[in-house]
Structure formats: C-alpha cells, structure tokens
C-alpha cells in the first residue's frame, strides 16, 4: 500500500491569481459596490442604510417612475428595431456576400463593416449633419429624385426621432451580424450544398431549408449580443440628441437616464444613490434577458459539426 499523499497543487490558484485580481478590481468590486450603494442614502449629511427605500422611490415616485418606464419602453422599441431591421438585413447581406456570383465581395464586406469601427461621436455627428434641415444633404438628395416633399426633420420630430436614431444605430452596427452570419455560412461544407442541389433544392429554398437552419445558432448569439448592446446603449443618443434624449424625452433610454441620474445634467443634481439603484435595476434587466436566452433558447439550438 502506498500512502495517499494529499498534495495541494499551488500552481493552479497561483496562475489564476492575476486574472482574478484584475477581473475583481475592475468588474466584480465595482458591481458589488454599486449594488451595495443602492441600499444607502444621505440623511443629515451622513450616509445611512435605508434598505429598499431607494427602489420604492424609483418605482413609486411619479417623477422617477415615469421617466424610468418611458426610458424602458423606448429601449424596448430601440431593441425591437434592431431585431427587425439590423439582424434580418445582416443575414440578407451575408447571404448575398457568400454568393459566388457576386464580384467585389471584399470591397462590399469592408464598406459595410467600416461604420462599426467608427466612433459613435463621428457617426452621430455625421448623421446629424446629413439629416439637418438647414445644411444637411438629405433634403438636397431627395430633391434630386423629386421627393423633397417627403423630407422631414426626422431627428427633431417626436414621432420619428426614436425610429430615426434606431436606424442610425442599425446603419452603424449592421456589419457585425453580417460578419458573424457570413462566417457561419462559409462554414457550411460545399458538399452539403451540392447534395442539396442534387436533391433539387436551389435558390431560395436552399437558403430556407438548408442554410438558415444551420446558421440558427449564430443568429441566437447575435440576438443576445444585440440585446445586451441595446440595453447598455448610451453613446449614440448622447452624441446625436444630447443627454436629455430629446425631443421631449422621446429618445431617452436607460443609458441616458442613468447618466442624468448619476452624474446630473444641467439643473438636475447628480445622485449617487438613485443612480446606483437605477444601475442595479438595469443590471437585473439584462441579467434576466441573458438568463432567459441561455436557459430557454440556447439549449434548444443545436450546434452542428460537419
């Protein structure tokens, strides 16, 4: 009998340590600190524990709750436009790019992807200029094809602003779903497509019956990336419409609302505790969405090995 020697393999925690320290310092700790902060408030100049009082204010006080539900609704609409326009369009573009008959694919691929690497400040500013009723080129362009009567100051109209800003965001980020789907389409073996051809499946039925089912896992990933990206969005709206999400808060989303609450804006004073509360709520909204996806959808999508 050889005696069992329990050795502690020190090298494992040792090698994990740097990553754990860095990740904790910049992710875990701030997150926990924010969660913690949402249970405090200032009374008579001192920080005191108030339990869930901040949450009661956020959801119960009309000034706060009205803004919150407005932002959440706008955010949901923002997300819906991405799901309905950006992702289907990205799939169509990828399908076109992967077609062998198309020439200059490298050019199209790059051209469509470039906005995704541009700064949101540039994108926001450029689109503001394009759509400006005063010096924008959109009215002139419409005039050239005789449709000037259709022009409206889209970013300034309450009815259109949110849709317009959503579409600008779609324009900027469409390259990402396109690239992911393109990669997924390229990974479908040529022989499977040829077998389908022998079975008489060509053209659009080839896409619907063979290719689409095989890229579904990638579409799932794209949906969840879109969800997280959209509910964390802030930058484009801030650059284009300002922190107030104008006109009349119609483009106000959770990101801009959080910015105003936390840091303050114009006459509104920044409130650390209300901001933390809102940040926590946002965290749980996104967590719920991601968990719903992981447990509800991901399990049902099969990944295929060829």
């Amino acid at each position: 009998m050889t005696p069992k020697i329990k050795t502690i393999r020190w090298h494992i925690p040792l090698l994990l340590l740097p990553a754990v320290i860095i990740y904790s310092a910049i992710m875990i700790f701030p997150l926990l600190a924010t969660l913690n902060l949402s249970f405090f408030n200032v009374e008579e100049g001192k920080q005191v524990f108030v339990g869930i009082a901040n949450y009661i204010v956020l959801f119960g006080n009309e000034i706060y709750s009205e803004k919150f539900w407005n932002a959440l609704g706008n955010n949901a609409y923002f997300f819906m436009i991405h799901m309905l326009v950006q992702n289907p369009l990205g799939i169509i573009l990828a399908a076109m790019l992967s077609s062998k008959k198309l020439r200059f694919t490298a050019f199209y691929r790059t051209a469509i992807f470039i906005p995704a690497i541009l700064s949101f400040v540039i994108v926001g500013f450029v689109w503001k200029l394009i759509l400006s009723p005063l010096w924008g080129i959109a009215p002139d362009l419409l005039d050239m094809i005789g449709l000037k009567s259709l022009f409206l100051p889209w970013l300034g109209k309450e009815a259109y602003a949110l849709t317009t800003i959503s579409l600008i965001s779609v324009w900027q980020y469409i390259g990402i779903p396109m690239m992911l789907i393109y990669a997924a389409l390229l990974s479908i073996p040529e022989e499977v497509v040829e077998a389908a051809e022998c079975d008489g499946i060509t053209g659009s039925s080839l896409f619907w019956k063979i290719k689409l089912p095989l890229i579904l896992p990638s579409i799932g990933i794209i949906s969840i990336l879109t969800f997280v990206g959209n509910f964390n969005a802030f930058d484009l709206i801030y650059a284009t419409q300002g922190a107030l999400g104008g006109p009349g808060f119609t483009t106000d989303i959770l990101g801009t609302l959080l910015y105003r609450t936390f840091f303050g804006f114009q006459l509104q004073l920044g409130d650390l505790y209300a901001g933390s509360t809102l940040a926590t709520v946002m965290f749980f909204i996104i967590l719920a969405g991601v968990c719903g996806y992981l447990f509800g959808v991901q399990n049902r999508l099969r990944r295929y090995q060829f």
């Binding site: 022989e191 077998a195 008489g200 095989l214």
Partner: protein, 335 residues
Amino acid sequence: MGTLKLKNISKSFGNVEVLRDISLEVADGEFVIFVGPSGCGKSTLLRIIAGLEDATKGEVIIDGQMVNHLGAADRGISMVFQSYALYPHMTVEANMGLGLKQAKTPKAEIKARVTKAANMLELTPLLNRRPAELSGGQRQRVAIGRSIVREPKIFLFDEPLSNLDAALRVNTRIEIANLHNSLNSSMIYVTHDQVEAMTLADKIVVLHDGKIEQIGHPIELYNHPCNMFVAGFIGSPKMNFFDADKLDVKNAITVGVRPEHIKIDAKQGDYECEITYVEHLGSDSNLYLTHPKLGAFTVRVFGQVAYARGETLHASLLKESMHKFDEHENVITDI
C-alpha cells in the same frame, strides 16, 4: 433504363485543362469505375455528369437525351459524396426524403420509398436519429439510402469509402456490390483505390492527366495493359519496369514484369540479388530485391517466407508474363 454517353468532354479551369476530349459510353446496368491518381480529373468528370460542373466543351447524354442544360436534380442521377454530405439538422428519415419532398411527391409514397430503402440498408432503427448521432459507416449508408430513395437512372459515387476505416470499407464495398446486384441500375464510381476498382467494376476507366488511358474489364486491364501508366497503376505492389537491353529483350525499350511473375529460389536462378526489405503480410510476402545490373525490384510470393534482409536470393523472370513497351510507353503486342 440508365445509359450514359459522353461526347468529347473537355473542361478547363482558366488556363488549366483538367479534362481533354473524353468520350465514353455506359450501358444500362453497368458498374463503371473511374480510377486514377489524384488530380487526374476523375472527380471533375463525375461532377460534370452530375451537373454540378459545366463542361467547357462536349455533350453529356443520359438515356439518349442531351442534358447539358439541365440542373443536377433534373438529370435523373443521384450522388453519394465522400464526406457523406448529410443535412446535419435533419433526421435520417428527413435526409432521405428531402429530395422527393422538394419534388412534391405524395407523402405516402415518400414514406414507402424511405421505408424500403431503410430496410435494404438496415437503417430502420436509425430513422429518427440525426447524422451527429451516427457512426461513419452508418452515415455513409444514409447517404447511399438518400440516393436509392430518388430511384435515379444512374448512381454516382464520389470516393464513398475514403472516409471509412479499413474494416468498414470492406463491408461497405460488399454492400455496394450487393446493392448493384439487387437494383440493377447503372453506377459510376470514382476512386483512387485500385482494390475497389478491381473488385466492384464491370468496366474500369483509367484516367491520367485528364485523358482516358484505357477502358476495360478489370482482368483485361490487369492482363493486357495498353501502356506503362495502366500497367503501373493496376496491380499491387506495382509492376516492375526494366530497361529492355539489360534483360537482352529485343524490339522493346522497357519491359514490365509483375511482382507475382518473378520466381525466387535460394540456390539457383537467372539473377543473384540481395534482399533489402521483406514485408510479411501473412497470406503473402513482398520481397524488395536489388540486383547490380537490374536495380531494385519487388517480388510477391504467396504464403510466408523465411528470408531476411541482407540475404542473397536468386530471381527468375517469367518470360511469358512479360509486358513489352515501346519508346512512347505503349505496349508492343508481338504475339
């Protein structure tokens, strides 16, 4: 019915000519095998027949009808691919029935045909599985089943056994042979493995550099190769080639002798050689010999031998089994 006629097929990819003026006929019910080294154009030829590739020149005629302009699905052919090419997201049953479903065949008939093919290939218990849950051999059987269900005029096989392990390869080979027997349809089969070619084919087409070198029955090709390429390609181990003058053979440039047509003896023979290597295969043995004048050559003997590397051995070439070739590497028939 399933006859095929190829008329002067040529194919180029840009400046590269892969097929040059191929003409060929396949009779109804015939099992034809295209064999040749990698890059000889055999797969391209099969793909042209299938309609997956267009010929640069020439005509493909199936059952007397020119099909150059028809798509793969309308030619009445079906193809089995090397990598199986099953639809990963569908069950075995759906995989086999998809072609018929696309052609709007009534459901009951699809069901009947799939059931029949599944019985034939012993796939019935697997019908509800997906390709990922099958072994390699099972996947290839599904791919063959998918072909059968379509009831094609001509079956096309593109190296169907290459991805299988050795034992499975033999089994599936027999299965394909049985299938040909029971279905009695025309089959065209591409392989680089001459054992498959020899065992399965009614007719072998040897391709080399985009040209047909010889067409014939396997044994005819073995006994009467028409040039050095076919002589070297058919038969394993390879035929030995010697300079004719070294063997004192007149009216020829090269002489070919198959390894099994060389007699060896420990004591006497025409050439005294040294053994450089011995392969013991159990049922037979391959001896690699060198002779100072003839150079290196291979001898195949049946059964097991006790010779070892470094020993001396006497070899005699069987005169009546020699193949003589002229300066263009074509065979000389002087009998």
